[in-house]
Structure formats: C-alpha cells, structure tokens
C-alpha cells in the first residue's frame, strides 16, 4: 500500500508544480486568433451546437436497438453446437420477430431518409 500512496503523492506534487511554475514563468500573449480552436489552421465556421434533423435520432435509435439484438445472436453462435436444433429453432423465432419489426418499420416509413413521404402519411391519418 505504501509505495502506491507515495506514488500518488509524487504525482500530485509534480502536476501541481508544473501548473504553478508555468503560471509564473510562462509567457502570455493575446492575439486575434488566440481564443480560436485552431489557432493556426482553418478558421472554424458556425457553432458546434447545431441542431441535427430528428431523422438522425431515429436512425441512431434503430442502430442501438438492432445492434443490441446482435449480442443475443452472438451468444447463440458461441454455443452453437451445445444448443443443437432446439437452440436453432429458438434463434430462428428470435430473428423472425426481428424481421417482422423491420417490416413494420419499413412500412411506416421509419427507414426513409427524408421526411416528405412520412409527412404525407401522417397527413392522411389526420
């Protein structure tokens, strides 16, 4: 335990020393581009906090969900031989359910890249 504590203390001291010393010894300047993210590169354009289209959210969400389903398929694959036919049928049902939900997503227009077609359908329902 002791060496670890000494090490932590040493790290603290070194880091603190670096910050304090550079504060007193280092030079300071304040030019036109000092505050920019790339002081000597491309001038950045606009704010980083721009709003993304909600379609991206949908795609991201679909990715997260279907991505996780892959975990189950992988864990089946690992024990493929032990599970035999019974396991095969179970994963078959699982994938069939996934396919069914994919069909649903396709039909309601969740997979469309742009909004127009979906808007049309929504208008129909209303």
């Amino acid at each position: 335990m002791w060496p670890l504590l000494v090490f932590i203390a040493a790290v603290m001291v070194v880091v603190a020393a670096q910050i304090v010393l550079s504060h007193f010894l280092g030079q300071r300047h304040r030019e036109r581009a000092t505050g920019e993210p790339y002081e000597s590169g491309i001038v950045s354009e606009g704010s980083a906090r721009l709003r993304f289209s909600a379609t991206f959210y949908l795609v991201a969400m679909l990715f997260v969900i279907f991505d996780l389903e892959a975990v189950y398929i992988f864990s089946w694959v690992i024990s493929f031989r032990e599970l035999g036919w019974s396991g095969y049928f179970k994963i078959f049902v699982f994938i069939a359910i996934l396919l069914a939900s994919l069909v649903y997503l396709w039909r309601i227009g969740a997979l469309e890249a742009g909004p127009p077609k979906r808007r049309l359908r929504e208008a129909e329902v209303k």
Partner: protein, 478 residues
C-alpha cells in the same frame, strides 16, 4: 422444450404472437376495428389455452417460469382485464386523431409482461416481465402525443419507474452476490438457513421492497400516481391501475406463500405502518381533489393500503383475502376509469367533477353503472367491494389486529364521502355555464363492456361463493 412445457407456456406465447400479428397487420392495413379484432382473438385464444395448460399444470419451464394454478388463475385475470381495456380503448381512440393500431400492440406487449410477472419464480424473469410491462406503459401513458400532459406523465413515469427498477435491480444484485442464486425458492431457503452478512441481505431486501412498493404505489412511493393517472389516456389509466398492480400483487403473493407466513415482527410492523399511511394519505388527499381521475388515483393508493392489510392480518386466510380483494378492486377500477373514457368527448377527457354534473339526466344508463362502480369502491353491501372488505375485516378480527382494523373502518368512512361526492354531482342539475366535455355519441363496445363489468360486480357481491371456491382451488393448489 418438452411438449408439456410448450403447452404450459402457450397462453404467454399466444399473447406474444398476437402482438406480432397486430404489428404486421398495422404495417399493411391501418384499421382500428381490425386491430381490435386481432387483439381480442389473441386474448380469446390464450384464455382458451389456459384450460389446455391447466391439464398439465404445475409445470416448471426452465428455472425462470412456473405455470401452476396460481399463475393460471392470475393469467386469466390479467388477460380478461387486458381484453376489457382493448374494448374501452377502441371507442376512446376512435374519437381521436392519430395512429390507433399501436395502442393494441403496446397493450398486448404490456399484458405479456404482466403475464410473465405472475408466472415467474426467478428474479431474472421478474426483471424481464417487469420491464416489458413498464416500457410498454411509458409509451402507452405518453400515447396521445398531441396532449402535453400525456407526454409529461409519460416522462415522469419513465424517470421514476426507472429509478425504482434500478433500486430493485441493485437489491437483487446484492442478494445474488450474497446467496449465489436468483430463484425465489432457493433464496428463501438460504436466507432461512442463515450464515451470511445479515445487514447486507436486509438492506438488499429493502431495496427490492422499494421496487415492488413503487409499482404498487404504496406511501411513501406513491408520488407518481396522481400525475400519471391524470395525464395518461383514460383506458391506459385503467390498465395501469389494474393489470400492473395486479401482476405485482401476484409476485408478492408468490413470495408470501414461499416464506410461509414466517415474516419477522419488525417487518410486519413496518408493513402495518405503510398500510396505515397509504390508507390515510390516499383518502385524505382524495378529499381535496376536483379532478375525477386524480380522486380515483388517490383512492387507488388507499385501496392498495387495504390490500396490504389483507396480507398482514390475513394469516392463513391471506392469499384468499388478497386475491378476492384484488379482483374486486380490479373490476371496479376498470369500471370507473372505463367510464371516464367512455363519456369523454373528442376534445378533452371528462375529468373535472363538473363534467359529471347532471350526467344522470343525460345518460342514465352510464351514470347508473358509474354509481354502482363507486359504491363497490366504497364497499357498500351487494357489491363485490363489500365482500372484499368483509374478508378483510373477518381476517383482521381473526388475528386481533385492532389498530389496522380501526384504520380500515375510519378510512372506509372517509372514502364514502368523496365517492358520494361524485355520485351527488351526477344527480345534480346541469350547470349550463359551460358545456361539459362529456361526449354526445355513445361508444357501444365500451358501454357494453362496462355493463358486463357492473353485472359482474353485483353478481360477485350477491353470490360470491363460486369465485371463492375458484380462488381457493387456485391458491391452495400451490
């Protein structure tokens, strides 16, 4: 999977299949009637398959799920309630714009989750069932997305329910770390044998208790109830009040039967305090409300308090008393929230007390049914609610739990006051200042469902023997 196991699981499989079929049907042809038909067919098929499964019960399907008579009984209860909610939802969503088919799909999935809950003997399956139920419920509570209150209720429910689930999970994780198993039976045995860190186990059980208590909306974990009940579409409120609480009660009952009544006195005292608080807080706050959905929400908190009394004071009677009380409570809650959804108009729900003014003169049939439901909630004789309360009191006298009994009696009187307030406003003359939200058109299916429920309530109130025999064979068969 052997054939017997497949047969035993068939009620659950059929409901899951129905959800899938409704989803596929919705992707090709959007129709409220078609979706309702498929949903009802699914529920009917799984109800029929219950009889099929009863022949092979009890069957343990993997360590996760046990289909015994208790599970079958509660599955029947859950599926019937789900079907009733589907019928109520048909009329309700017919009046409103937006997608309708997904309601049935989510409803079926939530019911499937509840079905898994009532049949589980393992914490992993409990978690899966619980989450299937609650995640579907988040979407259902926030279903009318044009209504900000519905969205707000959905978000609130999501945040609070996830916190409570995390507590439950963490508790289970600690128990698993200490005991090395997640099966209910083995855990109870190991805890009884002792030889592990008491404080850790007790703390873990308390965490699990928080998760369960939240679902049942017992004080002090009741804060979400009024908001969620108010914001959710009325048929969904009916579902939250009945199926999700009923399924959790079944889990509690299963644990109770496993422990075999050997609960330490300190725990009993704590539960008594919670029960008394739930009754008083629910009833007293209900007195202050003008919104019918909120009144009913607080009343449901109080009713879960009564239900807890049945657990505490029931002794050997407990499983029977709890189940009977739960059925009476579920039928009446379904009826009252169903009534709110049936008489709601196009623009908004009939939730203010003044929306009900003069209802009796405009729609005598609905008003009569509503009054019968409220009487049953209050526990007036000749209704199912009375028999439920009678069970409670009889069990309590048997055990000599006088403090609890006293609170039950005082609270019944308190409850009567606000139930009668609703009834009185229905018979009052209509205030012509503002046209109420009540719908002019009649939802035929919804009204028929409610009439059937009302008949059921009175039938159970007058001739309870049949149901009692059924309950006995279910709970004693464990």
């Amino acid at each position: 999977m052997t054939e017997a196991q497949f047969v035993a699981l068939s009620p659950l499989i059929l409901v899951g299949l129905a959800a899938l079929v409704v989803m596929l049907a919705a992707s090709f042809k959007r129709s409220n009637g078609l979706a309702l038909g498929l949903t009802l067919a699914g529920f009917a098929a799984s109800l029929v398959s219950l009889a099929w499964a009863a022949k092979v019960a009890p069957v343990q399907v993997t360590p996760l799920i046990l289909i015994d008579r208790l599970a079958l009984f509660y599955l029947g209860l859950v599926f019937l309630t789900g079907a009733a909610v589907a019928l109520l939802g048909h009329g309700y969503f017919e009046k409103r714009a937006g997608y309708r088919d997904e309601f049935y799909m989510l409803l079926l999935m939530a019911t499937l989750g509840a079905g898994v809950l009532v049949a589980t003997t393992h914490f992993a399956a409990l978690f899966i069932g619980l989450e299937l139920l609650t995640i579907s419920l988040y979407a259902l509570v926030g279903y009318t997305r044009t209504e900000p209150r519905s969205l707000e209720a959905g978000l609130k429910y999501l945040v609070l329910a996830t916190v409570s689930t995390s507590f439950l999970l963490f508790g289970v994780a600690l128990l698993y770390a200490e005991l090395g198993t997640m099966e209910f039976g083995k855990m109870v045995d190991l805890i009884r044998q002792g030889g592990h860190r008491e404080t850790l186990v007790n703390g873990a059980i308390a965490l699990v208790g928080i998760g369960i208590g939240f679902k049942l909306a017992l004080v002090p974990l009741h804060m979400w109830t009024p908001d969620v009940y108010e914001g959710a579409p009325a048929p969904v409120t009916a579902f939250v009040a009945t199926v999700s609480k009923g399924a959790m009660t079944a889990v509690l009952l299963r644990l109770y039967l496993l422990v075999g009544g050997a609960i330490p006195d300190s725990v009993m005292t704590l539960l008594s305090v919670i029960a008394i608080l739930s009754m008083f807080v629910g009833n007293l706050l209900a007195l202050l409300q003008d919104n019918v959905k909120r009144i009913l929400a607080y009343s449901s908190i109080a009713h879960l308090g009564y239900l807890l009394v049945a657990f505490i004071a029931g002794g050997n009677f407990a499983p029977e008393a709890v189940t009977y009380y739960l059925i009476a409570y579920m039928a009446t809650s379904l009826g009252t929230f169903g009534m709110v959804s049936v008489i709601s108009g196009r623009e908004r729900e009939a939730e203010e007390l003044r929306d009900y003014a003069g209802l009796f003169w405009r729609r005598p049939f609905e008003a009569g049914v509503f009054a019968a439901m409220l009487m049953s909630l209050a526990g007036i004789p000749l209704t199912a609610g009375f028999i439920g309360k009678f069970y409670l009191l009889a069990a309590g006298v048997d055990m000599g739990a006088w403090v609890l009994l006293g609170s039950v009696v005082i609270n019944s009187a308190l409850g009567l006051f606000y139930y009668l307030r609703i009834v009185a406003s229905m018979y009052a003359a209509e205030t012509s200042a503002k046209p109420g939200a009540a719908a002019r058109e009649v939802a035929l299916l919804g009204s028929a469902t409610l009439a059937a429920l009302a008949l059921c309530l009175i039938w159970l109130g007058v001739f309870p023997a049949g149901l009692i025999t059924l309950i006995r064979s279910a709970v004693l068969g464990v």
